[in-house]
């Protein structure tokens, strides 16, 4: 794994990535404990479970997997004393194209994740937890499994952790190459040993009917790491780092046509898209101009260079006024990107320059979704295959004049008609590429 031992950019604030990027830091428990590790678990074990959940709520931690649901609110759905077994599962099935943060944490700082999960387990009265790691991370799975053994040997996991009387076991569970398992109910089905067909919500909200039909919390790898950091930094300080309603830092993964692609940990709302691309990532390649940005993983809607967005912003007198905001001035936080018609998603920013053909790029994504549709719902199973066939035909110069309209029609009839959000994830690229770059999809009348 490439080690990017660059000093942090001034816009960065490394919290969950601090150890992972420190020269000489090793993933073993001795190094972790020497650097203050597991102190937050001990602190949490001395608190009341409700106080722990309140801290996470106050910190305004949003899930880092893609949907951005407030973590403390999710935890609040669990009733500790309902007499049922509870579970937590960590979603390490990172597969959203453009997103690449988990491997660094799992390889370089696995105990941070384990500590975060142990805190969550205590707060939610969970005695059994799983870390679902995609099998394309075979070394990560081995490193985390070893870290779990180390933590158990030192009394941070297993029976009566840190003398608290509380028991928790964590196991690694490897996926088998299916993107759909990143969807939380699909992940649960996979963990139950089944084909990972997503469950329909309601009634199968994991916090109500999750793993083995018991209340279950599914959180992303980065999210659990933030939980640990909240107890280190304090919920107030943590919340202050971000924007109202979106606390702390988040890892933004920039890929594509920039000079310095990579994962950068930045306070929520701490940079604009322009600062991220031109400043943090060193700008476009020599002689090239920005053409398009996919701001939150491949499923998020594409944005076009030069476009502006009508936004409500704070005026000089403090009241909200409407203003035209250029693309590169968009602040990287959940609400701004949502207002711009896209989303922060998983934090995966894919940048494309003026040498790129948008039909080709969309076709690449369509092939991805066609390969990854689980096949449970007809609109998705059939629709994404047709979308892929159509753009493949167009790339090969065999498009017909009505193709763009047909593409849009098929995409419009997938979104909103499927059990899980994969339908939207596959449709949004088609809809947004067609809307933002119509000229690249026109086929001469024949």
């Amino acid at each position: 794994m490439k080690s990017l031992l660059l000093p942090p950019h001034p816009k960065e604030r490394r919290i969950v990535f601090k150890n992972a990027w420190t020269q000489g830091y090793t993933p073993d428990i001795d190094c972790y404990v020497k650097n203050g590790g597991y102190a937050e678990l001990k602190k949490a074990l001395s608190m009341k479970p409700e106080e722990i959940i309140d801290e996470v709520k106050k910190a305004n931690l949003r899930g880092r997997g893609g949907a951005g649901f407030p973590c403390g609110v999710k935890w609040g759905f669990i009733r500790r004393d309902d007499g049922k077994p509870h579970y937590i599962t960590c979603n390490g099935d990172e597969s959203e194209p453009g997103t690449f943060k988990d491997r660094y944490i799992l390889h370089n700082d696995p105990h941070q994740l384990i500590e975060g999960m142990a805190i969550a387990a205590f707060a939610l009265n969970v005695n059994l937890a799983y870390i679902y790691i995609r099998c394309e991370f075979p070394k990560a799975a081995a490193i985390v499994a070893k870290a779990i053994e180390e933590a158990k040997a030192k009394g941070f996991l297993g029976k009566n952790i840190c003398g608290s009387g509380f028991d928790v076991d964590i196991y690694v569970h490897q996926g088998a190459g299916a993107y759909i398992c990143g969807e939380e109910t699909s992940l649960i089905e996979s963990l139950e040993g089944k084909r990972p067909y997503p469950r329909i919500k309601p009634p199968y909200f994991p916090a109500v009917l999750g793993l083995y039909m018991s209340p279950t919390i599914v959180n992303n790898v980065e999210t659990f790491c933030h939980v640990k950091q909240i107890f280190k930094i304090g919920s107030d300080e943590y919340a202050k780092m971000g924007t109202p309603g979106d606390g702390g830092t988040r890892v933004m993964c920039v890929s594509g046509d920039v000079m310095r692609p990579g994962p950068y940990e930045i306070p929520a709302g701490g940079v604009t898209l322009g600062e991220l691309i031109n400043d943090v990532c060193g700008g476009m390649k020599p002689g090239r101009k920005l053409k398009a940005i996919i701001p939150g993983g491949s499923s998020s809607k594409i944005l076009r260079a030069g476009e502006t967005f009508k936004m409500k912003v704070k005026g000089p007198d403090g009241e909200m006024i409407e203003k035209e905001v250029p693309l590169l001035d968009l602040v990287m936080d959940s609400s701004t990107l949502a207002a711009a018609g896209s989303m922060m998603g998983s934090g995966g920013v894919i940048v494309m320059d003026d040498s790129r053909n948008m039909l080709w790029a969309l076709n690449n994504l369509n092939t991805f979704y066609a390969h990854e549709s689980c096949g449970q719902c007809t609109p998705c199973r059939e629709g994404v295959l047709w979308i892929d066939k159509m753009t493949t035909r167009m790339v090969n110069g065999e498009g017909i004049a009505q193709d763009p309209a047909t593409l849009k029609n098929v995409a419009d009839n997938i979104a909103g008609r499927t059990v899980c959000a994969f339908g939207e994830a596959a449709s949004w690229p088609v809809q947004s590429f067609l809307e933002k770059f119509p000229e690249e999809f026109q086929v001469a009348s024949n």
């Binding site: 990017l4 990172e94 491997r103 299916a178 040993g193 089944k194 491949s298 790129r356 790029a361």
Partner: protein
Amino acid sequence: MDKHAAPSNGSRQADQIPTDLLTKIDEAVTHYPVSKRSASLPLLHLWQNHFGFVDDSGINWIANRLELQPINILELVTFYPWFRQQAAGKVCIRVCRTLPCALAGSYEVRDAFCKAAGIDPNAPPHGHSPPVSADGKFSVEFVECLASCGSAPVALVNDDLLEDITPEGTAVILSQYN
């Protein structure tokens, strides 16, 4: 079952289970105290890591071990792209195909790997039977996003993630795994 499944020298995998594999299987089952069925994927991984693929006897054996029907295991093997019913190359090369890697030249990298390994790059890109070189040494296939887009193009060669690969560098990579 799969009529295209490669004959494994006429022998059944289930007749050749070594003790250490059995030990690992027993250990894996203990990780799922609530439901043995949850151990399906771990057992398939252990099986495939040892034998290289999962034959009919393996599917039956795992089903029997977990008190399931063979279909409960077969449906996993046919769904999850990672599992195979035929052998891949001894050195298994999985090149990331998805957008950030494609922008960085992953199609050229895949073609160069194929050329260096003597494999037809026009063979079907996806599925359970990747194209294998005549000597059985290498298989080259596209896979979807490997979650390392910042160092694209990347490939998983056996358990190793290789980053920033160039088409010119592929022959050297193959020689290192030879």
